[in-house]
């Protein structure tokens, strides 16, 4: 591979349309949590975010800040993100004290800068919860969620052994209710919003999805007991504040928590009765 550069860096390519308009910009003051690692105590640093286009998403704004930090030989801010479409659940962030920021039903990656005003101060922190230890800067470890799913968040079926899909009709309202619960993106905003750091909304969403469906009945009570017990090992207890559903980008309702609690009580009975029958 040898050739000379015939186009200076940054110059748009041949068929690239030339901009004829610059979008409206705002200036912000950011206070961002910086923490080198789990053992570092961490602190806020203040950055001027000037000339931020209103068309940017919040994460694109952070990309711009990172480019500027790099130019000043400062390490860029670490944060989790991937799909930038509000579906993978990677992004997090407390923005002015609210998980995923001020816009309801919106994950941080879908929040746009036109929702902020010129001159505003914006405080950016990681999700704070004992069960989500900080890895670096704004990145936290949410793997305790996986432990809950591993404990029972599945319906056992081996590939090739399933009956024809239309053999079990599922009433549409039931299918829809299961789907609404299954839409949880596993972001952890519910935990970050909860004064007790409880994971009841997440766990209830997982349990609700499977316990509502006819396919999920065989393992219903074993699943509920295992998942709730695992949840309690890692997370705080729910005292019905309801902050979780306010923060949830998928607007999952705390009604699913009621459903989970009911099934959990019954599981204690059912599972014990089942055990007592064992030889």
């Amino acid at each position: 591979m040898t050739a000379t550069m015939n186009r200076p860096l940054g110059e748009p390519g041949a068929s690239r349309p030339k901009p004829v308009h610059v979008s409206k910009t705002i200036n912000l003051t950011l206070k961002v949590w910086r923490q080198k690692g789990p053992k570092d105590t961490g602190r806020f640093e203040t950055y001027k975010a000037e000339g931020i286009s209103e068309d940017m998403s919040f994460l694109e704004m952070l990309d711009v800040i990172n480019e500027r930090l790099l130019a000043e030989n400062k390490e860029p801010i670490t944060f989790d993100h991937d799909c930038r479409e509000g579906i993978c659940g990677s992004c997090s962030l407390m923005i002015n004290g609210i998980p995923h920021g001020p816009e309801t039903a919106t994950a941080t990656c879908q929040l746009h800068m036109r929702k902020f005003h010129d001159g505003q101060e914006v405080v950016v922190e990681p999700f704070r919860a004992t069960s989500f230890p900080i890895v670096k800067d704004l990145m936290v470890d949410r793997s305790a969620f996986d432990r809950i799913v591993e404990a029972g968040g599945y319906i056992t079926v081996f590939p090739g052994s399933a009956p024809d899909a239309n053999l079990i009709p599922v009433p549409k309202p039931v299918a829809d209710a299961a789907f609404i619960a299954a839409a949880c993106i596993g972001c952890g905003a519910c935990v970050a919003a909860c004064p007790n750091g409880a994971a009841n909304l997440f766990t209830a969403a997982k349990i609700g999805h499977m316990n509502l469906l006819p396919q999920g009945q065989a393992e219903r009570y074993a699943r509920t007991e295992a998942m709730v017990d695992t949840m309690e090992k890692f997370f705080g207890s729910c005292t019905n504040h309801g902050e979780c559903q306010e923060a949830c980008p998928k607007e999952i309702s705390i009604d699913y928590i009621a459903l989970m609690n009911k099934d959990y009580l019954r599981s204690k009975l059912k599972n014990r009765r089942y055990l007592s029958r064992k030889p």
Binding site: M1, M5, N6, R7, L9, G13, A14, S15, P17, H21, V22, K36, S53, D55, S57, L59, D63, V64, E67, E75, P76, H81, D82, I87, C88, G89, Q110, H112, K136, M139, D141, R142, S143, D146, V149, E150, A151, G153, Y154, I155, T156, V157, P159, G160, A162, P163, A165, N166, K172, A175, A178, F179, A182, A183, G186, H209, M210, L213, Q215, G216
Partner: protein, 641 residues
């Protein structure tokens, strides 16, 4: 490079019996012996998670790796539209044969018939498996599964879960994987990135992995390695792919000898939101269904500065309706995309950057009323407004095509094994099944077909003869050398201390790729790219700036390695596009079009899979050809006039 014969291991005989006969003829590993075999699965998207779960369930010793913090984040989660299956639940004449035929034809006769037929066959099992697992597909009021027609298909064979089909399927595969993790048959390594494939005496020995939290570089050996690491659309920087999608795992295997097939085949999606400024980080797809009720146009006059509603009918160019009177706004993805590029290149683009075309709902609003339009597209209109701040009920949407999917990938045989014995590839990472163009809702189908139903059985054929052989130990010099190379490479990026960020180089590479190896390619343009990419690559190596260290989380360092591989891949894509002197599917060479401007295939000279070998000396690839033959689907030319 020595000559490689590409044996597809495609069975012969009547097409409907090939998979059954093949399953019967492959060697089996007896249930009690399965735990004696170690299998590494890299990637836990749809393909990887389903494979790891199934292999674990069969009793193999599985180690699964993902750079994500949990399998549920894989890019598969973002798929919206649905998954195809030849269930014929709607009694509208669908069949395995029809799905097979549509897929081969849609792929513009550049896929292997045997593979495609098998895909169509197992499609029905996928739906059964997913429903049993609890995937909440959309249902009708009677409680049975709903289907829709998708991407211009003549039958309703697409199963869906609102606009979140990928999410629901991935959560299903992830739950199956989680169960195996709990049982201990699968050891899951998250935030772990594979950075090399280790080959000893011509056979796969294992992988080298970097822990993205601690920076630790470790080796893992196994009897077989399965790469299910997704597609490479992000070589264009801007695409509909998730930010972290990359080619590194496949590329490093390529550098170890695995052939890379049809790299130039990629798919452009016509309806995405155009970028708004230079810091745009990704492009968002708007469902294709919008074209059912939206009319696409641009102003006649390139200098028109009026708002859309101020431009009278007579001064608008509804160019698709004008050029394709019978299909109009519903022409296939590639045709719609190319035409949008033509008008934007002619300076007629609309929007602040003049980089889009209008998708206008005003006549549908008049015809159907606001309520009907709202019911059909509410969530899409809302998503559009969230991103652009504009209300599609009031002003037309602005759309433009974007890179969406890559059909090319690691060459694999019928067993999904690459040409390196013991190294397999599945899902979007391999090249199989879609030919030169993928049908909508078929990628999810392929990922799950590979993972649940194909690989877990074909892998036995390779493993069975190795019973009681231990994998190569990780203190073997080949592992140690590969580990050292990974550490050296990272030290090199950190040592450059140049001027520009990794993203800067990625963005510039993307521009070259998009301009010269995008929707429309020419000999001159490709040659230009083949000159510019190496120059930019040299700049990258000389002038990239990566701060921090390699003993903690360092996202710029992770990206540096990925962008390095994109440079090499980008070069190969241009080479492949230049050599393929025809237009087919997603590959459009301006020199090869019919009088009507349609893609012109050259079956006589190019009816083959172009599989490239990595050539260390000059970085130019070496081409190997796997000829394709069509016994069932006879090639024909497309027309949408």
């Amino acid at each position: 490079m020595s000559d490689i014969t590409l044996d597809s291991k495609s069975p012969s005989g009547p097409i409907q019996d090939r998979w059954t006969n093949h399953k019967f003829s492959v060697k089996l590993v007896n249930p009690a012996n399965k735990r004696k075999f170690d299998i590494i699965v890299v990637g836990t998207g749809l393909a990887g998670a389903s494979a790891a779960a199934t292999l674990g369930g069969l009793g193999y010793n599985v180690k699964a790796f993902t750079f994500h913090d949990t399998p549920r984040r894989a890019h598969s989660i973002a798929a919206q539209g649905g998954i195809n299956a030849a269930k014929n639940y709607h009694g509208d004449g669908d069949s395995i044969y029809r799905l097979f035929y549509d897929t081969v034809k849609g792929g513009d006769y550049r896929a292997r018939e045997s593979n495609v037929y098998r895909l169509a066959q197992v499609s029905v099992d996928i739906i059964d498996q997913c429903v049993a697992q609890g995937v909440p597909f959309a249902r009708e009021y009677g409680g049975l599964l709903d289907n829709r027609s998708f991407g211009g298909a003549q039958v309703s064979r697409t199963f869906y879960a609102a606009g979140q089909t990928g999410q629901q399927l991935l959560l299903g595969a992830y739950s199956a994987l989680a169960q195996q993790v709990h049982k201990g048959t699968v050891e899951l390594h998250t935030r772990s990135e594979m950075l090399d494939l280790v080959v000893v005496d011509g056979q796969t020995a294992g992988i080298v992995v970097r822990d993205l939290i601690t920076g630790e570089v470790t080796s893992h050996s196994a009897h077989a390695v399965v790469l299910a690491t997704g597609g490479y659309g992000n070589v264009f920087y801007l695409s509909t792919n998730a930010m972290a999608c990359n080619v590194t795992a496949a590329w490093r295997a390529h550098r170890r000898g695995a052939l890379f097939a049809n790299p130039c085949y990629m798919q452009i999606h016509p309806t995405c939101i155009p970028s708004s400024d230079d810091f745009q980080s990704k492009l968002t797809l708007m469902s294709e269904s919008l074209r059912n009720d939206g009319r696409i146009w641009v102003p006649n006059n390139p200098d028109d500065t009026r708002g859309a509603d101020q431009i009278p009918e007579g001064e608008r160019d509804y160019y698709l309706e004008r050029k394709y009177p019978s299909f109009g706004n519903l022409v296939p993805r590639d045709v719609a995309s190319r035409n949008a590029k033509t008008v934007v290149d002619a300076g007629k683009g609309i929007g602040p950057l003049k980089n889009g075309v209008y998708l206008d709902f005003s006549s549908s609003l008049l015809r159907l009323g606001r309520d009907v339009v709202k019911e059909r597209y509410d969530n899409l209109f809302e998503m559009y407004e969230r991103i652009t701040g504009e209300d599609p009920f009031k002003t037309p949407m602005r759309i433009y095509p974007a890179v969406h999917y890559t059909m090319g990938g690691l060459w694999v045989d019928y067993n999904l094994m690459t040409n390196i014995p013991g190294c397999y590839s599945m899902g979007e990472a391999n090249f199989s099944d879609h030919g030169a163009n993928r049908l909508g809702a078929s990628a999810l189908m392929q990922g799950l077909a590979d993972g649940y139903f194909v690989l877990p059985y074909t892998i036995g054929d390779y493993l069975a003869p190795q019973l009681n052989q231990k994998p190569v130990p990780t203190d073997h010099p080949a592992f140690k050398a590969a580990e050292a190379a990974v550490r050296d490479q990272n030290a090199r990026y950190l040592g450059v201390k140049g001027k520009y960020s990794v993203d800067h180089f990625h963005r510039e590479l993307g521009k070259i790729m998009w301009d010269y190896c995008g929707m429309e390619r020419t000999e001159a343009g490709l040659n230009k790219a083949l000159a510019e990419i190496p120059a930019l690559y040299t700049e990258f190596k000389k002038d990239v700036k990566v701060l921090g260290d390699d003993q903690s989380v360092n996202q710029s360092l992770e990206r540096a390695g990925r962008v390095d591989d994109f440079f090499q891949l980008g070069y190969l894509m241009c080479q492949d596009a230049l050599h393929r002197e025809e237009s087919c599917g997603g590959h459009f060479r301006a020199e090869h079009q019919t009088d009507d401007g349609e893609a012109q295939r050259d079956d006589e000279n190019f009816s083959y899979v172009g599989a490239w070998g990595f050539n260390h000396a000059v970085a130019d690839g070496t081409l190997h050809k796997e000829p394709l033959s069509f016994e069932y689907c006879k090639p024909s030319q497309r027309s949408y006039k």
